[in-house]
Symmetry: C2
Subunit: 334 residues, 2 copies
Amino acid sequence: MSRPRIEDVAARAGTSPITVSRVLREPAKVAPATRARVTAAIAALGYIPNLSASSLASRRSGIVGLLVPTIDNSIFAATVQGLTDAVATAGLQLLLGDFRYSDEGERALVRALVGRQPDALVVVGVVRDRALREMLLGLDIPVIETWDLTTRPVDTVVGFSNREAGAAMARHFMARGRHRLAFVGGRDQRAQARAAGFAAALERAGAPSPVTEIVDGAAIAEGRRAVARILTIAPKTEGVFFSTDMLAVGGLIECQHCNIAVPYQLAIAGLGDQEIGRELTPALTTVRVPAYEIGKNAGEIVLSRLRGDPIGKRVLNLGFSIVERESTQARSAK
Amino acid sequence: MSRPRIEDVAARAGTSPITVSRVLREPAKVAPATRARVTAAIAALGYIPNLSASSLASRRSGIVGLLVPTIDNSIFAATVQGLTDAVATAGLQLLLGDFRYSDEGERALVRALVGRQPDALVVVGVVRDRALREMLLGLDIPVIETWDLTTRPVDTVVGFSNREAGAAMARHFMARGRHRLAFVGGRDQRAQARAAGFAAALERAGAPSPVTEIVDGAAIAEGRRAVARILTIAPKTEGVFFSTDMLAVGGLIECQHCNIAVPYQLAIAGLGDQEIGRELTPALTTVRVPAYEIGKNAGEIVLSRLRGDPIGKRVLNLGFSIVERESTQARSAK
DNA sequence: CTGAAAGCGCTTACAG
DNA sequence: CTGAAAGCGCTTACAG
C-alpha cells in the first residue's frame, strides 16, 4: 500500500487528474459539486501531493532558501521568524542552511539549495565572495541580502548600516565623557563594519584609536577573556563596545569578578537587545536592530517579486537605535 | 539562457545522460577518461542537478525532515548540529520546521514536510497526538522521536527520561536539606514529565507536594515572575527547580532584586547546562542533557536504516547528569 | 564500462 | 467547467 497519487484521487472522485490538481491550486475554477467529490476523495485517501513532481512540472518549488551564518545564535531566530511569518501566508516553505561563517561553506550551501530549485534566496549578510556573487547573479531568482547595507546588492538588500551603528556607539560613549575606547567582535563582515565605523567616528573626533580584540564565536567566555586582555594592554580604557550582547554579558561578568565598577570605571555596550542584557545589573546599553523586521520585509519582497510586481527599491534601510541603560551612564550621573 | 540540464552536460562530454548521472552518484563505475570529460563539462557549464527530478525518478529525496517545537531556543540548536553532523556525511539535507508547541501546527508541518518526500523524519519530543501517530506510522520511512523516552515509540526514540531528571533533582535538593520545594515549567510534555518526576520523588520521601508554576515560553521574565509568585504563595519555599536554565536565570535575577540570598535562603536549579548559568554568580546547578548526542545518534540511526541495516534498539536512553554548582549548596556549606 | 527505453507524479498549454 | 496529450529532468532496470 504505497502512497496514493493524484490518479488514485481522480479515480475515486470520478474525474481526471487535472481536475484534482485544480482543486488543490485554484479551487474557484472547479464546479462546487466536483470540488466536493474531489475534496472528499483527498480526505478519504489521505492524499498528500508529491511536491517533487509538482516542482518539476511547474518549475515552481514553493521553497525559499535561507542562508544563515549559524543557527545557534538566537539573534537570527527573529529574522527566521519574520521571514516565515511573511512567506507562510503564500504557502512557501523555508529551507534553512547554515554556512558556519565560511565562504566555502556558503558556496557549498548555495549549490545544495539551488539543486532544490528554490523560488527565491535570502542570505544573512552581504555577499562579497566573487564566485558566489556570480553564481547568484546567474540564478535568475530573487536574491535578498540582509543584516547590512551595500550600494550594489546582488539584487535587493534589506538591513541597516553596521558601520553607522558602530559610529553611533562611539558618539554615545564620547557624549558621556569616554574617549579611550575598545572594540570586541568576531571576524565576520558585520562585526568588521561595526569596528570600522566605531574607529572612524573616534578618529573624526580626535579621540585615540580604539583597542580592538578579535574573538571567535559569541560566547560569554570570549567576552570575558577579551575584557581581561584589554585591561592588561590598555588599563586606562574607559568603555568597551561589544559586537553582540552575549559578548557584552561576558564583559559585565568579568568586571564583576575583577571588582571593576560598571559603568563608573568601565562602560560597556552590546548589540542586539537580547533579554539577558535588560535583566542583568547593571542593565546593558545596546544597539537595537530590526531583526524581525528584516525577515518580514525580506519575505514581503520575495512575495512581491514572485507575483511579478515591478521591482522597488534595491536598498532598504530599516535603521537601528541605541538603547541607553545603566552600563554606559556618565560618571557624573552617580 | 536557462540552467543546463544533464543532457547538455552529456552533449558537451560526448556521452549519454545516464553516464553523467553515474559520474555524480557512483563515479567508481565510470571509466576514468569518461569521468574526466564529464567532470570537466559539469564544471564548465556550472551544472547543478535538479533534485526535484532526481527525487521523483529515484524515490529518494535526500531530505531528512526535522520537527522542533521552536527554533529560537538555543538548547535545540545543539541537537540540530548533531543531526547535521551525522547526516551531512551521507549528503543528506535537513528540512527544518518549527511547530511552535502545538499539535495542530505539528500535523500541518508533517503534511508539508511529507510532500517533499523526506527519506526520514526526526521529531523533538514524543508523539502523543493520535492522528499524528497514525499519519507517521503510515509513512513507511524511519521516524525518530527524541528528547524523551517512551515504551512505545512510533519507530525509534533516542533521549533521556525527563521524569527521572525531575526525580533526580528532587533528591538532589532533599540531600541538601531542602524539602519545601517548587517547580516552574511550561506546558509541553517534557516540562510536564519533569514536574511529575519531581513531585513523585518528593511524595515518596514524605516531603510536601511542590508548588507548581506553569509559564508560557522560556523567557527570563517568566522565571522572575514565577519566583515572585511562589514566594507570595509559599514564602517558606526552600528550593525551586526550573524546567530550563533560562527560566532559572530569571529566578536568580529576581532573588537578587529582592535581596533573597541564593542558595542560603532559596536554592535554585535549572536544566540544559547553558553557558550563562555557568557564568553567573552564584553559578547555577543544572541538569546536563545530551542535546548534541541526541541529534548525532538520531542521525546515525537514520543512516543505518536507509542503508537497510537490521533494526537495533527501539529505545535509546542517553541519560543525563546533575551538575552541582553554588546555587543549590547546602546551608551548612556556608 | 556504456546506453536506449520507459517511467517517476505532477502541471502546462491547448482544445472543447 | 473539464480533459487528453505532452513534457518537466532525472534514474531504474535491462541489455549489450
